[in-house]
């Protein structure tokens, strides 16, 4: 006698797959903003359009709108940050929200409080939104799964995974400079492996339909199978930025300049630094971007950073408008629904 027939067909369970985009509510509207991955093109365009509407607010004498009046936003930073935290704070204030800054690194976790307990405590204070930065990839996703259903979570950078608001402000900068995404060649140069900015930018650029996304760097700084995210890999900068419409330089962290990844900052600059001479290889109207803060003379020459093709400071300005857009979309859905 054989064993066939011992098992009935249609075994349930074991291989079942579950996946849903956690960021959208049942109407496909933005509930959390955790990652660019899985978001439809229309939604990204909505964010950009909304940011365009918010951009003039910062130029007025009275720089706020009452969209989020009465809402409480918590900047929940587990990792030190000045610029990102400040722009989120400004964005929240311009939307008339109450904002509270919590530097968790220095308080709760050092007392041994678990992340879940910290979240419970904050929830008890009736907050409406958490803006989260954490050193571990997936932390924002984790927090979004933990919080009460009325709370929105905005990822302000998690480990090496995602920094979606940075990517969207870069997209706004590109759209303003180039009017459209179709046909663009975008080169991202530097430490791709450790960069959450690069990952989010790659996803946003591909979703918005650019011609080609290139990543440029030595093998030690290019992660395994990055091609699967929709990129072309270059290990030399000259062919990598040749003909590019946009060149995005990434910051090289101090601790990686002399390590098993790279021999020295000087050698890195010689091999991958963006100089005026190299920039001539890109399209004649190419723009140069950098998420900041810049290491002058390491990834970029001062002449380029301060030169006519640089849009680095515009990125910072756009950061506030994009964050206002995302915050108002995420918790403003009830406000808008109420106004209608």
């Amino acid at each position: 006698m054989t064993t066939t027939g011992l098992l009935r067909d249609g075994r349930p369970g074991v291989f079942k797959k579950m996946r849903a985009n956690h960021q959208l509510d049942e109407h496909g509207r933005l509930k959390h903003f955790l990652s660019i991955e899985g978001l439809p093109r229309d939604l990204l365009v909505d964010i950009l359009d909304s940011a365009e509407r918010f951009a003039p607010v910062g130029e007025r004498a009275v720089k706020n709108v009452p969209l989020l009046r009465g809402k409480t936003v918590v900047n929940l930073f587990f990792e030190p940050s000045t610029r990102t935290r400040t722009t989120f704070e400004l964005a929240a204030k311009r939307l008339s929200a109450d904002i509270m800054n919590l530097n968790i690194e220095a308080s709760a976790t050092s007392k041994g409080e678990s992340l879940s307990d910290t979240l419970r405590t904050l929830e008890a204070m009736h907050c409406d939104m958490f803006v989260v930065r954490h050193q571990n990839s997936g932390a924002a996703e984790f927090i979004a799964r933990q919080v009460a259903p009325h709370i929105s979570v905005i990822n302000a950078g998690d480990g090496r995974h995602a920094h979606p608001t940075q990517a969207m402000l870069d997209m706004l900068t590109i759209r303003r400079a180039k009017q459209q995404f179709e046909g663009l060649i975008v080169a991202i140069v530097g430490d791709i492996a450790h960069s959450r900015v690069a990952r989010s930018e790659i996803q946003a650029l591909n979703t918005l339909g650019v011609e080609e996304v290139r990543v440029v760097g030595p093998k030690t700084l290019i992660p395994s199978q990055i091609e699967a995210l929709g990129t072309r890999v270059f290990h030399q900068i000259e062919p990598g930025i040749k003909g590019a419409d946009v060149v995005i330089m990434l910051r090289l962290q101090q601790e990686r300049m002399q390590s098993s990844l790279l021999p020295s900052a000087q050698e890195y600059f010689q091999a991958y630094g963006l100089t005026e001479r190299r920039l001539k290889l890109a399209a004649s109207d190419a723009v140069v971007m950098h998420p900041g803060p810049i290491n002058r003379g390491v990834e970029i020459d001062s002449a380029v950073a301060d030169g006519p093709q640089s849009v680095i400071l515009r990125q910072v300005t756009h950061g506030i408008a994009v964050r206002m857009a995302v915050m108002s979309m995420a918790i403003g859905t009830q406000v808008i629904a109420g106004a209608n």
């Binding site: 098992l7 369970g13 074991v14 991955e37 678990s114 954490h134 990839s137 998690d158 990952r199 199978q225």
Partner: protein, 425 residues
Amino acid sequence: MCLKGGHVIDPAAKVNEIANVYIDNGRILAVGRSPRGFKADETHDVRGLVVAPGFIELSAHLREPGFEHKGTIVSECRAAAAGGFTTVCCTPDTLPVIDNASVVEHIKQRAGRARAARVQCLGALTRGLEGQVLAEMRALKESGCVAVTNADNAIADTSVLRQALAYAASCELTVFLRPLDYWLSIEGKMHEGAVSTRLGIPALPEAEEVIAVSRDLTLIEETGVRAHFCRLSSRRSIALIARARRAGLQITADVALANLLYTDKDIGSYDPNFHVYPPLRESKHRTGLRAGVRKRDISAICGNHEPHDADAKATPFSLSAPGMATFDTFLPAILALVERGVFDLNTALAAITQAPSEILDLGCGSLSPGLPADICIFDANFEWTASAENLLSVGKNTTFLGQSLRGKAMMTLVDGRIVYRHDGK
């Protein structure tokens, strides 16, 4: 005792038929015809059920002593019995580590009290599993350890590893090797590939294991130690081991259930229950592992039972403790693989009964007359839903929670004594 009318599958004895099993004095008396003059004191009607040798787990983290909030010897041995296991091998990564006879004594004593699955101890290869000083292997052997291992702790210093293998060889101890390159395995939390790149999680390259397999094979040949490779995860490791076996090296290998079931894609969006070591790799590796089981280059399958408290998994992926609790759900998962045609039931049962017994020379894993009556009687079609309430392990860290499963141990016997009986509901 007589188990009447069940479908007996005993790969070691090449039995696969409806037959009665007769048990006397804790041992198998006969399979098939009733021995002359034997009168069973009790008879169990097991028609429609499979009667197999009890399963043997080669890697069980029983968590006691030291981590009783994750599981105790009593709780985990009962979960094991409910899953059809009759022998579980306790890994040495307890606190204190199983690197001296007193810890072995303690565990054996507690296990005796559990009156559930039998516990065998795997002793430490180095003191404190620190990879520097050899553990007292002779004393460990005398106290009953069936093998020695450094568990998941990579030994950085290759000369220490070489001496440890040589010393184990002179103690005539089997060494369980989880091949790991210390330096390549420090930072990573998942397999290096497209998924780790997408998720931005520090990655473990395939080389962390393959390099170590090559190194270990060389050292095994040189020292002549009897070695078993644990929980292989890369197809290139399988190829290396198959080649060494063909060349005549006496080595064996196992694979963990999770690596047969899943790939790195299942981590999806950071589900900490899929955070396991060895890491889940790409599907080409899973395909290679499955083929390795079919070809018997990997002769054993382990559950690698690692129960955790809820807090250990209630955290972002990289910060979560690795491991899955597998005792309760091992059988339905194995049966699902059989149904998918990954391997046949006979191969699967051989890999969890006969093979582990042979690897450790335990003298069980079969229903041959004279052997201890360690038996698992299971219903291959019993449907149930895994829940925090019905899983006996303290660790609810399983990917199956809330899922409907098919297959359940209905009765488990150790030394002819019923240590688990399902209520049939």
